[in-house]
Amino acid sequence: MVSDDIGPNRRDVLKASGAAGLAGLAGLAGCSTTDDAATDTPTEESGGGGGGGGDEETSADDGGDGDDGETGPYAIGMVDSLTGSLSAFGQRNQRGKDLALADVNDVGIGGRDLEIVVEDSESQSQSGVSAAQKLVNQDGVPFVIGAVGSGVSLAIYESVIQGTDVVQLSQNSTSPDLTNFPGLLRMSPTGSTQSTALARIIEEDGYDSVALAWVNNDYGQGLAETFREEWGGEIAYDQPHDQGQSSYSSTVSGMANSGADAWLFITYQPEFTSMAQEAYSNGYEAQFYGADSVQGSDVLGNTPEGSLDGMKVVVPSAAVDQDNYQNFASEFESEYGETPSSWSAFAYDCVVTAALSIATADEFTGAALQETVRDVTRPEGEEVFTFEEAMEVLGDDGSPSDIDYQGVSGPIDFDENGDPIGFLQVLTVENHEYVSSGTIEG
């Protein structure tokens, strides 16, 4: 009796899921043909089915803006890691974003405010894509700041942004892979500069064998790959690990078994903390090295005093010598009671760059912003250090090439791959604190 009841139910479920799968396939097929049409014959773009839909949406938005009498705020989107394993970055981003938004809206963009719709990526690709989809399709934003994790940024670019006019500017992604997608801009310099720097530092420290543990995603893979290319010595252990595991003892004992004295961690803070704890309570000793993502006060707070001493970490560094950074830092400190990290600075610059690209664009559409977003930060124009200064230089009808925004995170200067140039700072753990021990240029 019971099994008789279950039979048809299962079949129904199968049918339903099959139908859903077919629908999905059909949807995908639709997308790819549209993409092809768009790339093969750019002139016919608006004639294509999907492309037409996109255009309609943006023009509808224009109409809406017109009705508002051009007084409503310019709305752009932001996908951020408010929760999940990168939430520490997300929180810093939000602080940088809030400060930038205040600075922009003090001046205004042609009398209008900037508004940022923030969605949570949960530090995961799937949730990030739905967040971006909501922003682009529902809120109709032409500019998306996002995301933190490189895998999330790429997923958003490939499934939401690519083939549309919407501008995507990642605030924190450092995977070298993103370089292969010129349409995807980012504010943080590529992590491959970190791998190169790490390889150089480990070599200078006199090690010829290294154990490498990397997180199993785009970020970890990208950095590990560049490290393998740049590293001249032996790699005694080279294994990925998944995020959010309940135990990393296999990784740590594997690294210890490899016999290498230099251990390099390309992973995230919670994962690295577990590994450092595991190494400590297993009594393993090694010289630790790490990419930027394993550095943080949480890591120090949750590892035993002295267990990390001597560890070297490279982190993308903000333009700490510039006045605008110092203003930003003091503003940040009075607001949040601590010094800003470079991750806040990147988010700050994302917002200012977005505001400048809106200010210099002919109209508030993705296509128009694509034209201006790169130029406002590139040389040729007059160097400006704040949004206010930039707006003064621009006057009423300045063009993007009139200004060269020097961000609080550095000169930005997007290259043809959408990557900024950047500085790296080498931090060494001394007495359980991070101490700067020099800089390396990227």
């Binding site: 135990s247 004992s253 903390t273």
Partner: protein, 315 residues
């Protein structure tokens, strides 16, 4: 490097899985649905213990490298996890008349609610019990085993809890009633057992054990709002492998899955570790597939024994 070290790691990890699997299986046996909020019940237990430990702190003498205050915090964590589960049962699951699939989906919602509340209170960042980490026990080092006293504490506490549960199920009135209810609720009811009370006791014990598992997971690794949800899949694998609804099956399944998870690094160099096998023999597979291997073995066991290791047997 010895296999013993991996076995030791495996034992500790298995303990945590065993504690959580038993609870999941118990609840399934009586409430009849797969409780996806089980992992987050562990999180609730861990955070409660964290808060309690913050108050009682270094109270009392040290046992196995842990202050007595920690064991008090453990008890409070267990109690609160149990209380939260009973309240959820009374407020959400019991009034719902939706069948096991409906309850399963509801429990996913409940899991999100637990996690959201934890996040509201403590933020999303990970945190540690303020207990100094220990170095490995010197006496075991010559054998290649690197265990701390904390690991021993986790093992010992698990053994005590599992033995206690066994005694409860086999030798007490409540245990017999629980087994009867799990076996055949209607028959239990007509023979005079108040099954609704038994159901509450099941939630208390199941969620309590989950709370204990959460506290130990926090001690073993660290505490974060996703800790319980992250381990839940592995726990499900253990429960299904053992035969869902069976407590002893859950113990066996939890032990096996935990071991497999921690022994994965040996696979690529099996030949060097096991006698009678050619030196070069090995299964080339990375540790990132540890969970996948656990699930493969689960499927393999289910193909041979469709109801799991201890399926069909009354608990």
């Amino acid at each position: 490097m010895s296999v013993l070290e991996y076995l030791a790691n495996g034992l500790v990890f298995s303990s945590i899985i065993v504690l959580s699997s038993i609870g999941l299986s118990l609840v399934y046996s009586i409430a009849n649905f797969a409780n996806f909020a089980h992992g987050d019940t562990m999180t609730v237990g861990a955070y409660t213990a964290l808060v309690t430990f913050g108050f009682v702190g270094t109270l009392g003498a040290e046992v196995l490298g842990l202050p007595l205050g920690f064991f008090l915090a453990l008890v409070v964590g267990v109690a609160v996890a149990a209380a939260v589960a009973v309240v959820t049962h009374k407020v959400v699951y019991e009034p719902l008349d939706v069948g096991s699939i409906g309850l399963l989906i509801t429990s996913i919602g409940v899991a999100f609610v637990y996690r959201a509340i934890v996040q509201l209170g403590f933020g999303t960042e990970f945190i540690e019990f303020q207990i100094p980490l220990l170095r490995p026990i010197e006496a075991l080092l010559p054998f290649g085993i690197r265990m701390t006293l904390h690991d021993v504490a986790i093992l010992a506490s698990t053994a005590v809890l599992v033995a206690g549960l066994h005694a409860l199920l086999q030798y007490t009135d409540l245990g017999r009633k629980m087994r009867a209810t799990a076996d055949n609720p209607s028959l239990a009811r007509v023979s005079g057992i108040r099954t609704d009370r038994i159901e509450i006791w099941t939630w208390v014990i199941g969620a309590g054990l989950a709370g204990a598992g959460g506290v130990f997971l926090g001690l073993y690794n660290n505490i974060s709002p996703r800790m319980g949800f992250n381990i839940l899949l592995v726990v499900f694998a253990a429960v299904i492998l053992g035969g869902i609804g069976s407590v002893y099956g859950a113990m066996a399944g939890g032990f096996l899955i935990g071991m497999i998870n921690q022994l994965t690094p040996i696979l690529p160099r099996l030949g060097q570790e096991i006698p009678f096998v050619p030196e070069s023999f090995g299964i080339p597979i990375g540790i990132e597939y540890a969970n996948a291997i656990a699930f493969l073995i689960m499927v393999a066991v289910l193909l041979v024994r469709p109801s799991g290791i201890a399926g069909e047997e009354a608990t």
